[in-house]
Every structure is written in C-alpha cells, then in structure tokens.
C-alpha cells in the first residue's frame, strides 16, 4: 500500500461527478460498472466484485441484470415526445421491454408524474415486479392529447450480476471504520453522486497517511447491496466494526443533518457529534424514525451495527429529492467542501480515539527515564504534570480526546504524550 498520492482535490471530485452523471445506474447493469470503473481510475485500490443473478441474500435474491438501451414515446405523427436520452429518469428503472401502440388512456396507467411539482420528472423503480413505465413532468402529461402513442422500451434481462465496489485500507489494527455509499440512482446529484464523490475523497485522504484503524469504503446499490455486504460479513463486522457512516446527500450547502444510529449511543454517534461540535456546526438532530438510507439495514434489530450518518439537506425532506431537480445545480463546491472537511476531521477524531491503559502497577519511576526531574519537592513542569495525568487516567475508559478536555489542554499535546509513553512501554492502547 503506497501512502504517497495526496488526497483528491475538490476539483477532482467535481470532475468525477460530471463524468459519471449520465451513466444509467440501477441495482445492476452496465451503468454501475461504468461508474465504478471511473472511480477506480481515481483510486486504483478499489476492487470491483460481481454478485451473480440468483444469489440469495437473506430474505432477498439478486435479480436478473437489466440491459437498458433506450426508452421513448412517439406521438401519432412519429414525433419523439419522451426520450430517455434526454433524461435517465424518464424510464421507470428496470422496465420490461415493450414496443406497442397504445391509446392515451391505456398509456396513462404507466405514466408517473407529480401534480404538485409539474416541471419535475419523478424517480420510480420496479425492480421486483415485471412492469414498465415512464416518468414525466406533469405539465407535459397534461398537454398529451387523446390518440395513439407508440411506446418503445428497448431493454433486456439476463443472468448477469450486481456490480459492487470496495476500498479497504488496512491500519495498525483490524478494528475498522466503515463508510458506505450507494450506486443505484440514475442522474441524481445530491442523493447519489455527492456521497460517491465524498467517499472517494475520504478514501484518498485515508490512503495518503498512516492510520491506526483500518477503513473500509463500500460502493453498493442501496438496500440489496448493503444486505449483501452484511450477509457476507456480519460476523466479522460484529467483531471488528467500531463505527460506520452512511455517506449520502453531501453536496449542497443548505443544512447539516445528523441521523443517529437506532440506539443513538454508539461510538459512531459519539464521534459524529463530537466532530460536529469541534467544528462549531449547527445541525438538526433527526429521529431514527426518519431514517431512509442504508442505516435501515445496518441498524436493523438483528444486525445492530454502530452506524449513523451526517449529511447536508436530508433525503426525503428537500423538495428536489427523488426528482430531476436534484441535479448538478443543486449541489455546490462549497457544499462538497464542507462535507469533505467534516469527514476528514471525523477520521482524525477516530485516529485520536485511542484509549490508553497503564502497563505498570502504581506510578512508574519517571526520573530514571528522564521523564521527570531528579530533584524532588518542587513544582512539576506542565509536561511532567501532563505525563502524570495521562498515566493516572489511563484506566481504559478515557480516550485522548476526553483526556484533553479533562486536562484542559490541546489534543495534540495529549497525543504526543501518549506516543511518548507508548514508546517507553508505560501505556498501551486498548
């Protein structure tokens, strides 16, 4: 593992978003492969895995792979009035093939639009039911005149696979922090590509330095992907996952939202909130009742992993969510920058989350190690005092962040004393 490349710049992340914007992502298919290949160009350590059609995942099964070419509706004069080439959202994801003339009445049953947002295209899927459909602006729908329409969806379903990606960056210990993002939403910026971009940024940041903890960044379709990941690794994660975060909705600069884990009291929650406080960020504390992304799987009762999420405008709560308005103009450089900086600081928080434990019984003799003056009776220097305090509180319950707060000193001072005392074998990290 080379630690040389510097972290990706914000510009590189934005370029990546623009590059993959038009790929037709779904829970399977070529769009996902294209997206992961583009990611791999930035982080070659990214592994791409194919999970075959038919693979059983607990209560679920990997469906046939969706081969999509195009979807369009022509009016009775042969004019293309709806075209998936204009916007990926126009076709209901996983639509069956069709090539047929339908009356407007017949067609209506397979049209989706939002009367209260007449100029937006909604996002709809039909992964597990043999169906087809078009998503269109309600104002377009209202202008459709009675008559015949030719409906063409050129798609196919094959025994293929679900494509998933993972970057694993080992640290000194096997204990790991997970970052989980998803690759299944076609042409949505905040609720898909912002998470993907920040995930790549995080990976590049972690890769650029030596780490105490191991880190895993995964790129899976929502729900089915995270279930696959969990079903394969639950036992390992139960032993080694100390915290995880769902990376989603990280591109705008309008808000900060914190979605706790189901219990709200895991290490994931602790470090997420601590980092928000350190950065002086005002945020909305959401209820787990308003969960919406893969924390639904990570925090489900029998899985019960310590996973939370810090995001910007929260899925389900901003008007552009799950529509064509969640586009490249909705996210901003400033928004991505804030999210990137937040998660870098959070990773530093984990690296600082070392809980020292004393190795010797009683106070060690410090003067023989030149860690204290040989003349007794006077006042300790502040460094001697800090050494003494770190040793006294190295009882396996306080991490260095908490020590810094307790001792009213900078975290870096505590970190350097901890490193010093580790080098003398007077403490170890638990």
């Amino acid at each position: 593992m080379a630690y040389n490349p510097p972290p990706l710049s914000l510009e590189e992340l934005q370029m990546f978003i623009r590059k993959v914007w038009t790929f037709m992502r779904s829970i399977t298919g070529e769009g996902n492969r294209q997206t992961l290949n583009a990611a791999q160009e930035l982080i070659p350590e990214l592994e791409i895995i194919e999970v075959p059609t038919g693979t059983e995942i607990w209560d679920w099964v990997v469906p046939k792979e969706w081969i999509f070419k195009e979807a369009k509706i022509l009016d009775n004069r042969g004019k293309v009035i709806i075209d998936s080439k204009i916007h990926n959202l126009h076709v209901v994801n996983y639509s069956q093939p069709i090539n047929k003339i339908l009356s407007l009445n017949e067609l209506q049953n397979n049209l989706f639009s939002l009367p209260d947002k007449p100029d937006t295209i909604p996002y709809r899927t039909s992964y597990y039911d043999k169906s087809w459909g078009f998503c269109i602006q309600d104002e377009v729908r209202r202008r459709l005149v009675p008559g015949d329409y030719r409906v063409i969806i050129d798609s196919d379903f094959i025994d293929g696979s679900m494509t998933v990606g993972q970057i694993y960056i080992p640290g000194e210990v096997k204990s790991e922090v997970l970052f989980s993002t998803y690759i299944c939403h076609p042409m949505m910026a905040n609720n898909e590509l912002s998470g993907l971009a920040i995930a790549l940024g995080i990976a590049s940041y972690i890769r650029s330095k030596k780490n105490y903890y191991s880190y895993r960044i995964i790129f899976y379709p929502e729900t089915l992907g995270s279930l696959y990941f969990l079903s394969k690794n639950l036992e390992y994660l139960k032993s080694n996952l100390i915290a995880g975060y769902v990376l989603t909705c990280l591109g705008d600069d309008l808000a900060w939202n914190y979605m706790p884990s189901r219990t709200g009291i895991t290490l994931s929650d602790k470090i997420a909130k601590r980092t928000l406080e350190q950065l002086g960020i005002k945020y909305e504390l959401n209820s787990f009742l308003d969960r919406g992304s893969d924390e639904r799987q990570y925090c489900s009762p029998k899985v019960d992993l310590p996973v939370s999420s810090v995001m910007r405008s929260k899925y389900g709560s901003y008007p552009e969510y799950h529509t064509s308005k969640d586009d490249l103009t909705f996210i901003s450089k400033k928004g991505l920058h804030g999210s990137y900086e937040y998660y870098k600081k959070l990773i530093q928080g984990f690296e600082n989350h070392r809980i020292p434990r004393a190795e010797l019984f009683g106070e060690p003799m410090l003067s023989k190690r030149n860690l204290r003056s040989t003349i007794g009776g006077g006042t300790l220097t502040s460094k001697e005092q800090l050494i003494s305090n770190v040793l006294a509180y190295a009882d396996g319950t306080n991490d260095t962040f908490e020590m810094a707060k307790m001792f009213n000193v900078n975290i870096h001072e505590v970190e350097s004393i901890v490193d010093l005392l580790i080098s003398y074998k007077l403490i170890r990290v638990v």
Copy 2:
C-alpha cells in the same frame, strides 16, 4: 375453559357483597367457606383448598380452626347489652370460649373501644394468643354501670383447616399476572369485600376472552394466606410471575392511591402507572413505608416479587378503616365502577405489553408479501411506514405501548401490525 360468559355486571358484584356481608370471616372457619362458596357460584372455575391445622408455613403455622357461634354480654338484669348477632366486630376474632360473671372492673380489661371515635366498634383479633374480648362503641362503654355482667362466648377450636380459593385462567403463555385479595375481615366493606368483588369481576372479565398471558386470582386470608401461597409456589412464581396486584380498598370514590412495590421499578409498577396515566387519573403516590396489605409478603426481601397495588381510600388512612363505619354505605357503585374499569384497562395493558423481536436479518423484502408497493422511489403509505417502523424497533426492548407512543399512533394500529407481521413470521413476541 369456556370463554362464553360475559363479564359480571356491577350489579352482580354489589349483590355478592350484600350476600356475604354477614358471614363471620376470620383466618379460618365456616365464614370463609361460605364466602368462597358464594364466589364459586359466580365463577365456577374457583377452586377451594383446605390447608390443615398444624401445616407449617415458613416461620408460621396454621392454627386450630375457630368455631364461633355467638358472643354476648348480659347485665345483672339478664338484658343482652352487647351481641355479636348485632355486629360481627363485637367479638374479638379468635376469642376463647367463656361463660362467667365478672364485675365491671374485671370486664374492662377485655373491652376494646375508641375514645376518639365514640360511636364506632373497633376491629380486633387475637389469632395466636389464648384470649377473649369484646369490641364496643366507647359511648356504650362509658354508660356501663358498676356491677356484675355475664359474659358468654360460645366458641370452639378444632383441628380443622384454613380455607383458601384460587382461579387460574391459562393464556397462550405460562407467564402470569397475579391478583391477590383477602378473606379474613368480618363485616368490613372497603377493606375486604370491595377487593373480593373486584377480584371476581376481574376473573369474569379475563375468562370472557382469549388471553396472551395467564392470570391467577387468589382469595386467601391476609398474611398467613399469602405466606402459604408463596411458600408453596415461590420457585414457580420467580420464573413465571411478571406482575401482581393486591386488590384491597376498591369500593369508595374518594381517592386513588398507588402503592409501589418495594423497589418501585418492576413491570407491575410500570403497567399500573401507565394505566393510571392512560385514564387520566390523579392519584397519590404512596411510599412503600406505608404498606399495609399482602405486599408486605410479596415484596419482602427474600421473596421480592413484582407486586404493587392501586386502590381508592387507602387502608390505615381513612377514618372508617378497621371499624364498623367501614360499612356498605362507605362504598359506592361509582367507586366500584371506577375500580373495575381501572383493572380491566390494566389487563388490556398487559395484553398489549408484547415485545416484538425481528425474526430475519436486515429488512425483509416486503413487496413479495404484498406488504409494500412494487413501485419504488415514491413515498410510503402510512401503513407501509408503520410496518417498517415496527420492524425497525422490534429489537426486544420496546413493547407495543411504547411503540405506539414513539410512532405517535394508536396502540390498536401497532397491535394489528404486530399481528400481521407475526402471521408472516417476520417477528415474534419475546
């Protein structure tokens, strides 16, 4: 077990109280048998058990059975001036036989009266000491003139038994809720018969429907009876009793009192308080220091069962307590009605106290069970949302009541979703 008979009406409970009013109850004897027989007429499932004289019960022993015929005092002209036929309380319970002429001075040692309540007859017992006595109004006592009095108590002590009763109504599970009332106070209405009547009402209510939990309603003399019950069943109760209530002082409409268990944090306390809150009842929270009935045994340190009590005017605190003024006019239809409704609601609270636990790992696939629309990307219906929430919080810590509160929906909605998900084997109740 037939579930057909409807719950007893308030009128039937009142009729029962009037019927058994004059029976000479004690810790043993014919009055107790008459009382339990009358109860058995209403609830044939009631079993009557005889515990022989001499039976050892931990630190105690069942005494000889008291055969009581009559007790009276005649003045020197042969006029009956005190007569147990007028009021059962006139004779000290468990009095030895006597037939003797005594001077007023000699007689005074065996008279009990209440100078501060001159028109009431007190209640006194002497179960374990060979003694005799009369309880009279202090105003009557003050009018006694010096001279000779013939004292007649026609009683006997035989190797008989302590008579106790029990109704056990099995539910789906062995886990049970106990209702404990007592049958040892002669001619007292609130502090005896109200509890007995409500116990019968509760039994008839439970019997009228299918239940998840099992229920046990016991009719034992106070102290010695509950000690017998505990000494026989402690191990079983430790494993199966989830909560219990002492039914006492439930006939008046002047107050509501809650007597916590010794720790105050058992399931018995939780459901008792929850039910009071649900019904909007203002109540007095008593200290366990002011305990007075069989919670003294149920909550004693080595027994330590989860038993509390919700009552109306509390034993020991209303002026009529343990006197002839605790009569049929002290209790009221309104009072009995409120108590009956309270305990019915409490039983519903237990039936709703189901703690679901998810059966599958991760979120189940709901659409294949027609529990969710096959079209994804839109908003969930409120039922779909509720299904999702019940599954997410089915972690073995939340009961349906708490879920309803958390989800801000009616308990019945949660209950029906729980039943639905149980039928799909997606959750089970722990």
Copy 3:
C-alpha cells in the same frame, strides 16, 4: 488485643509532634526509626518492619540507606553561615558527602531558594540521583558575597533498609478500612506530622473499643512506601479493603478539603462525604487532577483501590507548603481537634455501615418472639413499626445510615433494632 486504654488525648498527640519534630526523616534512615519508636511508645501494637536496600518494588527499588550527620557552609573566615542543625531542611535530602572549598559561583548551582518567598527555606530531595545541595532563604542567598566557601556534608550510603510501620486492629470481619500516612518529610508540621499524629489518635480510638470491621493504619515513606505496601498486599487488599484514606495535612484550622478517589464513587467517597455532611462541615471538593499524596498510588489504574482523603489546608495549595513555614505554629490544637473528631465520626460511620439482610422468607411471626402485640387490628407502636421497616428493607442494599434517613429516625434507633433482630437471627449483616 486489650481494649482497655482510652483514646489518646489531643495533648498526647501534640506532645508526640513536638517530640519527633527534629528527627531527620527521609525515605530511609535513623530519623524514621526514631519517629516510629516514639509512635510505638504510644501504641505498642505498632509493628516496625525493615525493607532491605535493593528490594525491588514493581518499577522501583529500595535505595541505599542515607546516613546523615550534618551539613554546613562556612565562609572564608570559617564562620558557619548555613547549618543543618539550625533547620533540617537546609540540606537537600539524600545529599552525597562533600567537603570542599568552592567559589560562590560554583556554589550557586547547588543552592535552592524561593525568590518570591525570600524568608523561607524550601524543601528539596534527590533520592535517586547522586547529587548534593543546600536549601536556604533567598534573602540569605542574596547577601552572599563573592569569594570562597567551605561546603561540608557529612553523610554516607549503606546497604541498610527502608523502615516502615503498621498497626493492624482486627475486627469481627476481615473486611478492612485503611488509614495511610507517611514518614519522610523532615521538619514539616502540617504536611507530615499532623497526619502521623491523627493516625496515632485514630489507632488509639479504634483500639479502645470492639469493632465490626478490621482497621489498618500504616506509616510508610510517601510513594516508595505505599508502593511497597501495595506490591506486597494487592491481592489481599482487592479482596478485603472496603475503603481507605490518606491522612495528610490535618493540623490547621483554615479549611476542609476532600480529595475523591479517581472515580469518586467508591465506598470511601460515600462515607467521607456522608460524615462531612453529618458534621455540617463546609468543604472544598477537589478534582483528582489535583491529587498529590499516596492516592496517586492507591488509585493508579491497575491498583484501583477505593481510597480518598479528607484534609484541612491542602498540600500544594497553601503558601507554607513544602517550606520551613509549615512549622509548629502553622498547626493548631483547634485544627488537630477538628480532624481527630472528623475521623472518629467517620469510623463510627463505617461501624454503622452495616447492611442487613433478612434471614427468613416473608415477614417473620413477631408476636411469638414478643416483638409485637398479640392483639391485632390496632395501630403498631413506633418500635413495632421500626422493626417491621428494618425487616422490609433488609434486602442487602441499604445500610443502617440509609435506613435511618429513609425512616426519618435516629441512626442509634436503627442500630439497636438491627442488634435486636440479629440476636433473634431474623437478619444478618452482609
């Protein structure tokens, strides 16, 4: 063990302080032996133990014994200008021998003084580094004129021992309370001899009566002594030590300070704070960050014993600390009296800290033991009520102090009921 001698009087404690004032205490040496011998004259049960030079104590080792005769500085006219006979603090403790003429410049490197306290002699040691030095008043130092000075330190280092003392007073049970004081500061009154005197007073008080708990009072050099004690006894202490106190700074009447254990939630803390409250003492609650005496060892992470400290003017915080101004005029009879009374009350607090547990299931039958009237139905006497309450709360969680508070009665009433019920085998102490 004779229980006859009455506790030492305040005058005897003061006499002891004056007697040992001039002995040259250190971490080893004759001064310590003289001090312990004087203590043994007051409490013959005090054992004196010699721990040989070279004994390994965890990270430490017992150094050579310091044989000190005298230390002086003469000016170029042969006049003695600094003399350890004037004040023990003049010589740096554990100074190497020297007899040499030095220029003022050379001498300065080995002089210690306090510019901001020009009329005081500081206290300095050099136990583990081969060094020598003189501690002088800064005003004296400033008057030294350039020129030659003869420096004489007549000392030696031999394979001897560290001398330590212990008084162990067994009670009914092996569970013990520790009082730890130190014997290593030459000529300091509050920060040495006050603790020693109160320790002897405590020992004489405990010895004068029968006790439920065992008590151990130890007299060891600070740090190295307590580490020796711990290294020898840690396993035993982990099983049997219920609480401990460092006795230090107990001679003045200017303040009360409480130094909690590291966690602040041990039985030591509970009884210390309870006793302060009982006596209505206003005190300063210190942070464990400001620890300074042997709690540093007792509460170190891998030792982790329940040890706290109640003191008067706290080490490190009063201006006279670790200087010649911490002399016999700094402490007072009133100060010693208050400290002595505090610790006597604290010991009573431990003796009252009995947690009763019921022996029988359910309520015992009290009337057959003449602990309750045989006539039932009336009101209990306050003694009957108290018996009933002690039995009901004898669940192994409440000590007699807490019971007294809960029942709103005097602790002595609870104690006498507990003794009564123990005599009837109705409860035992856990």
